[in-house]
Amino acid sequence: MADERQYCTFFVNGYYFGIDVLKVQEVIRYQEMTRVPLAPPVVRGLINLRGQIVTAIDLRRRLDMPDGPDGRLPVNVVVSTDDGAVSLLVDEIGDVLQVPEKAFEQPPETLRGPARELIRGAYKLENRLLLILNTERAVALSNNGPGPRDAP
């Protein structure tokens, strides 16, 4: 249906997020990672995805949220980008959801910080909001990382 879209959903710090299902390459359980010293903290490490080296980005940190509780292993949502696959580390994976386009709304003006850049908008579901992540921005660190605060 033209006015319905499919999203791959997941949870980060209690929030319910979605990514366009076509952007998601695969979802895999936690993988052992090689840390990258001196890298931005958002980069949790590198994983070997069948011979391909994939950067894992911690979505909590990317969204300026506190780190998750110790001992709980995040899940890799591997999204395809122009620069190859990138993994987004999320707390827990949800379903693939079909939502009506008319339930979509722009993010509120009061949304600040990195989230403002990264959240495309929200779908008003019956009992909760589904926040749609802008994956291109989420994986781009240099351009949209700390935001325009650094500009003179």
Partner: protein
């Protein structure tokens, strides 16, 4: 796009490169009928296909070109510069049309009528003089015809050197020659050899194959690791076989990606011709070793630097014909490209016999623009001076031309070459010419590397940067490494080797402190410096598959790429230069040439510096940049002798003048009035020896007597203030203590001013 169109584009693009080359050659050797025939054939083919595909403009262009060539081939016209220019214009026009077709599938709206007109004019022009000839018509006579005479019968297919029209009497001067010039066609037998034994393969496929072989190498490494714990003979035998096969396959696939460097050079004759014409110069280009092969990615990476340097050579290197004649050189300048293998690398040399680079001019320019301090420049050898042109923002060209001389370029050349693990160097003899020499690795895809551990993680260090390994145990650790806090040094055969702890540099140090029983030092070459990298453990050297880092990590200069190890885990490949810069071993923007001028001091203050900390007699802390320290020595007080009012010691068969820092600084302050003061050579209380920092100044060495050596620190100097007294560059906080940064050059100079001193003239 239709397959037929795509194939046409591919093939034609390839042929155009050859056309460029051939036309430039023809201009030089107008009598070469073989090349003329080839040019004719190529244009004819393009015309034919263009007609078939309904590409009208292309057809008209190639037709006009073919007409002109027809007359040339018939000997009615002589190939000259004007014709060459016109035909090259055709090549350019065809290129434009092809580019348009590739993007839009249309011929584009370019207007090439002027090109066609000039061709027609040329075709008609001097044609009048020989119109009477019963020459072959400009239309094509393309029936393969075996030449009737002179072909030895034993040669079945006539190609290459066996062709028979050997002593073509050099083409007769046109006007007076009603000679029945050979209307004979060159034997139009197409060489079947190349076409039948080679096929076109998509580069993407090759890349994929390379990746797969990379995977295979990894899997092999994994199995070999597993095999180490196995006893089964059959298994081990098979493993051995797998090992060999993988290596062979890897070599084979890597070979498919190899391309002759001539692929890049191919466009240079044309480039040089056009550029020389534009600058009013005469340049002849010669190439040697075109067949030397390099990996495709490397070829791509050297394309721009090479082009840049060829441009430079023509634009700035080679003089105008008049200048050359005045210097007694042939008016035609010579440019030589030479590629060859040397020590597992490929060397590409670009030599010209032009004006060369005048080291004095380079020095003056570098000093004037503040890139190098005058004192520093005075000490540099001519060769080092010439290599200053690689500094960012350097250009000796007095005028900026359309082609070069904007002061960007050589530093970019160097950066690009270093990026692929290569090196570049200039040698020049004023008046005689310049040679730029690039050393580049054969391939980047799979490289030998040393794996090490630091902070619990594995890292790979490319073998190319590796100089040697030093292992210190037990007592040697405590004695060998002179360190107190942060940055230690090791005396490697008499030279101070700065040491860098990899784990600390990466911020992954564990809390086990410095009481290591065994210290592994990896001596690495970064730029023109060596430094020792201390790691926790050294493992094997193995072939690793280089995988680029994604853009999220591009800012992390400490790592060049990543790889997958035998156990399937990812390991980072160190960028040796990046680590060195981070650690301050190699100054970032090559500002290691800095000295006492204010901008240099500012640069010094902003960057991470390795400095030697010592205490003055009054206990004040002073810092000397480690770069200015040649050695640290300790002499018994009794060794100090006094000659002509100057303290000296005998040192390594030389007489080493001593400067007492505290005294020299006073002297520097009072402009020689204090004149040395009372003789108090007792800087270090309760000690029978003196601590001397040996500083090399020009060809001489000077010993700076300090109270005692405190430490070597490596810090980003943030807070700093104005100099507290003469002889001091500035004051800054190092290791939480206020420290004076000494202006060594100034001190040495002012010591030399003193009437009693004889040092440093």
């Amino acid at each position: 796009m239709k397959d037929i169109v795509r194939e046409f584009l591919l093939e034609t693009n390839e042929n155009l490169g050859q056309l460029d080359l051939d036309l430039v050659t023809l201009e030089r050797e107008p009598g070469d009928r073989e090349i003329l025939a080839r040019v004719f054939r190529t244009l004819h083919t393009i015309k034919g296909t263009a007609g078939f595909l309904g590409l009208a403009k292309l057809q008209a262009l190639s037709h006009a070109g073919e007409n002109l060539l027809g007359r040339l081939r018939a000997g009615e016209l002589l190939f000259d510069a004007e014709i060459a220019t016109a035909l090259l214009a055709v090549v350019d026009a065809i290129r434009k049309i092809l580019a348009a077709i590739e993007t839009t599938e249309q011929e584009g709206d370019g207007d090439y009528s002027s090109v066609v007109q000039s061709l027609e004019r040329l075709t008609r022009s001097s044609g009048t003089v020989s119109k009477l000839q019963p020459a072959s018509t400009p239309t094509v006579d393309f029936i393969p015809r075996v030449s009737r005479e002179a072909v030895p019968e034993s040669v079945p297919v006539v190609i290459g050197p066996t062709r028979a029209w050997v002593p073509e009497p050099t083409l007769p001067p046109l006007p007076s020659a009603p000679v029945p010039v050979e209307s004979r066609e060159p034997t139009e037998v197409r060489a079947p050899a190349v076409a039948d034994t080679s096929i076109r393969v998509d580069v993407g496929l090759l890349d994929k194959l390379m990746n797969l072989v990379g995977e295979l190498v990894l899997a092999r490494n994994q199995i070999v690791q597993f095999g180490n714990s196995q006893e089964d003979r059959t298994f081990l035998g098979t493993l051995q076989r797998l090992n060999t096969l993988t290596t062979e396959l890897q070599a084979g696939v890597m070979k498919t990606r190899m391309q002759p460097v001539g692929n890049v050079w191919g466009k240079f004759p044309r480039l040089v011709r056009d550029l020389a014409a534009a600058c009013g110069k005469q340049v002849r280009i010669d190439m040697d070793g075109q067949e030397t092969e390099l990996d495709k990615t490397i070829i791509e990476a050297v394309r721009d630097p090479l082009t840049h340097m060829v441009r430079n050579a023509v634009d700035h290197g080679i003089e105008s014909p008049a200048e050359r004649a005045a210097r007694g050189k042939p008016t035609e300048g010579r440019l030589l490209l030479h590629a060859f293998h040397e020590g597992g690398k490929v060397v590409i040399e670009i030599s010209d016999d032009g004006a060369g680079i005048d080291p004095i001019r380079v020095r003056d320019k570098a000093v004037r623009t503040g890139l190098v301090a005058p004192e520093q420049a005075a000490r540099m050898s001519d060769r080092d001076l010439v290599n200053l042109v690689f500094l960012p923002g350097f250009s000796t060209a007095d005028r900026v031309t359309q082609f070069s001389g904007r002061g960007v370029g050589m530093d970019v050349v160097r950066t690009n070459i270093e990026k692929i693990g290569g090196a570049v160097d200039i040698e020049s003899q004023p008046g005689r010419g310049t040679t730029v020499r690039m050393k580049i690795p054969l391939t980047l895809a799979i490289i030998p590397a040393l794996t090490v551990t630091a902070g619990g993680d594995r890292y790979a260090i490319p073998q190319v940067s590796l100089v040697e390994l030093v292992r210190l145990e037990g007592e040697q650790v405590r004695k060998g490494i002179e360190q107190v806090h942060g940055a230690p040094v090791y005396r490697l055969r008499g030279n101070l080797l700065p040491l860098v702890y990899l784990d600390r540099e990466l911020g992954v140090a564990t809390d086990r402190g410095d009481d290591r029983e065994i210290v592994n030092i990896i001596v690495l070459q970064a730029d023109d410096r060596q430094f020792g990298l201390i790691v926790d453990d050294i493992h094997d050297t193995e072939e690793i598959v280089v995988k680029p880092l994604q853009k999220q990590l591009k800012g992390v200069t400490a790592f060049a790429a990543a790889t997958i190890m035998g156990d399937g885990k990812v390991a980072l490949i160190l960028d040796v230069l990046g680590i060195a810069q981070r650690a301050g071993v190699v100054a970032d923007s090559r500002e290691r040439a800095l000295s006492e001028n204010p901008t240099a001091a500012a640069a010094l203050a902003g960057d991470c510096q390795t400095v030697l900390l010592c205490a003055g007699r009054d206990g004040g802390r002073m810092a000397i940049p480690l770069a200015q320290v040649a050695r640290l020595e300790e002499f018994p007080r009794s060794a100090v002798e006094r000659v002509g009012g100057q303290d000296v010691v005998q040192y390594r068969g030389e007489i080493l003048p001593l400067i007492h820092l505290s005294r020299a600084m006073r002297r520097a302050g009072s402009a020689g009035k204090a004149n040395g003061g009372p003789r108090r050579v007792s800087p270090a209380p309760a000690s029978d020896s003196i601590q001397v920092v040996v500083h090399a100044n020009r060809d001489r060495q000077v010993g700076l007597v300090v109270g005692h050596i405190l430490d070597i620190a490596e810090e980003t100097i943030a807070a700093r203030s104005q100099p507290s007294r003469p002889g001091v560059l500035f004051t800054a906080v190092v290791q939480n203590r206020v420290t004076e940064f000494l202006d060594i050059e100034h001190l040495v100079r002012s010591a030399a001013v003193a009437p009693t001193a004889t040092i440093g003239d």
